[in-house]
């Protein structure tokens, strides 16, 4: 999927995450993580994001993550939504993601 604009999803509330996806051609995937549980789960969060982007076939993106302690499934869902918004696609095919 190609990132054509800035897309965002999520909130800054406790146990949620706000993810902003920006275009980053041709610099590949870059992640700026800011998490209240970075010491404990930083690596895990990076892995979830990389894996999800791979699924979505996103090659170039600058991902800003403002994490307030969200679970992996929440991070994944927020990221998928943000990527679709950034790609300018309105209809999300959740089955493909599974």
């Amino acid at each position: 999927m190609k990132i054509v604009k800035t897309g965002t999803a999520g909130t800054l509330e406790s146990s949620d995450v706000m993810i902003t996806v920006r275009s980053n051609e041709p610099h590949g995937i870059e992640i700026a993580l800011n998490s209240i549980v970075e010491k404990q789960f930083g690596k895990q969060i990076h892995a979830v994001i990389r894996k999800t982007l791979e699924y979505l076939k996103v090659k170039d993106a600058y991902i800003e993550v403002q994490d307030k302690g969200a679970l992996d499934c929440a991070i994944e869902a927020r990221l998928i939504t943000a990527v679709y918004r950034a790609a300018g696609i309105k209809k999300i095919n959740w089955e493909v993601i599974e």
């Binding site: 604009k5 800035t6 909130t11 800054l12 509330e13 406790s14 706000m18 902003t20 600058y62 800003e64």
Partner: protein, 357 residues
């Protein structure tokens, strides 16, 4: 608790915002275009406001939570709602100005400090790479020339382009190898940014070592500079000049290799004169020299854009022709320019009303 989104303020909604802001010693700003208020009422009515936040253009401002409700996540909620609305409007760069002591709080809300002036003011941005990207964009458009002299820069508004502006650009370009002219982007000018840039480009086409840039969000306009948390006019002017000079000297000038900045002298405007004084103090610390150019006079007074606007309303093209280039004159005579006359008229009559009241 009930959340309220306000696109058009009424006297009552402004009063509600003020009530919250006053508990944190923050003033209301009149250019606000959108606000959120959170009320704490038992019957879900719009009474007892406890938190608020607003924006104007791409700048988030006037965010406050009453002391009693601090620490329960209301600020997060307010910022989330404001960001949602700003993204809805496809705002690419989102900024806020705050006291440096609040940097940590806003960092946790996803903002990054772009420039910090001592303990007075800091500019924070939601996109961590915003300024970096802007500077890389400038680098790609850099030009070179065979002329001798420093790489220089001018920052102008040109509302609209006059012989006075032409004179300053000419003088500066003669003394430079390359001259970059940044045009302040601001919607508050009577002549829209794209028109101002078009007129400057047309009026300086013959000067081969001159490159015109749209200033963008990083050449901060005085008119959009928020002041609601600064105490006095003197502190405001100082903070504005320092922040603007800092971003210029630390980021924009190095990106283009700028060694010199020219300014027009300001015999009549104490605010701009003070700004020039601040620049003269700050820029040399970064190895940039400042040179003042005397303004062009016509019949014993400086050629001014406000005079052109006044004559334009009166449709006195004969007088205008004496102080603007042919390119600007023909634009002012064209159909395209007529709606701008209405804007100027509306503004000046509004100003008159304000003076009367």
């Amino acid at each position: 608790m009930i959340e309220r989104m306000i696109r058009n303020h009424t006297a009552q909604t402004i009063q509600d915002c003020r009530e919250v802001l006053e508990t944190q010693n923050i003033r209301w700003e009149s250019d606000i275009t959108y606000s959120i208020i959170i009320y704490n009422s038992i019957d879900d009515s719009y009474t007892n406001p406890i938190a608020t936040g607003s924006f104007s253009g791409s700048v988030i401002k006037c965010v406050a939570v009453t002391p009693l409700f601090e620490g329960v996540g209301l600020a997060q909620r307010i910022i989330t709602l404001l960001l949602e609305e700003l993204y809805e409007r496809e705002t690419e760069h989102i900024f806020l100005f705050t006291r440096p002591k609040n940097i940590q709080s806003f960092r946790e809300l996803g903002f990054h400090p772009t420039a910090v002036v001592d303990d007075t003011i800091t500019l924070m941005e939601q996109n961590q790479r915003g300024l970096q990207n802007f500077c890389e964009g400038l680098k790609k458009q850099a030009i070179t020339s065979d002329r001798k002299g420093p790489v220089s820069c001018l920052v102008m508004n040109c509302n609209p382009f006059t012989n006075g502006h032409r004179y300053i650009i000419e003088q500066a370009s003669e003394k430079s190898s390359v001259l970059y002219v940044f045009i302040v982007t601001e919607d508050s000018s009577e002549f829209p940014t794209d028109v101002r840039i078009e007129l400057i480009r047309k009026g300086t086409q013959d000067l081969k070592n001159v490159k015109i840039f749209e200033g963008g969000e990083y050449i901060i306009s005085r008119n959009t500079f928020p002041t609601y948390f600064l105490k006095s006019q003197k502190i405001i002017d100082q903070a504005y000049a320092q922040l603007d000079a800092l971003i210029f000297a630390e980021h924009i000038a190095p990106a283009l290799g700028i060694e010199k900045r020219f300014v027009g002298n300001e015999p009549f405007c104490p605010v701009t004169d003070n700004y020039n004084t601040q620049l003269a103090q700050i820029l040399p610390q970064y190895g940039i020299t400042l040179e003042v150019i005397d303004r062009l006079e016509y019949e014993h007074s400086a050629v001014s854009a406000s005079e052109v606007r006044r004559l334009f309303v009166q449709q006195d093209y004969g007088q205008i022709a004496k102080i603007v280039p042919e390119t600007t004159l023909s634009f002012l005579r064209s159909d395209r320019a007529q709606y701008i006359r209405e804007i100027i008229q509306r503004r000046s009559s509004k100003r008159d009303e304000e003076i009367k009241s």
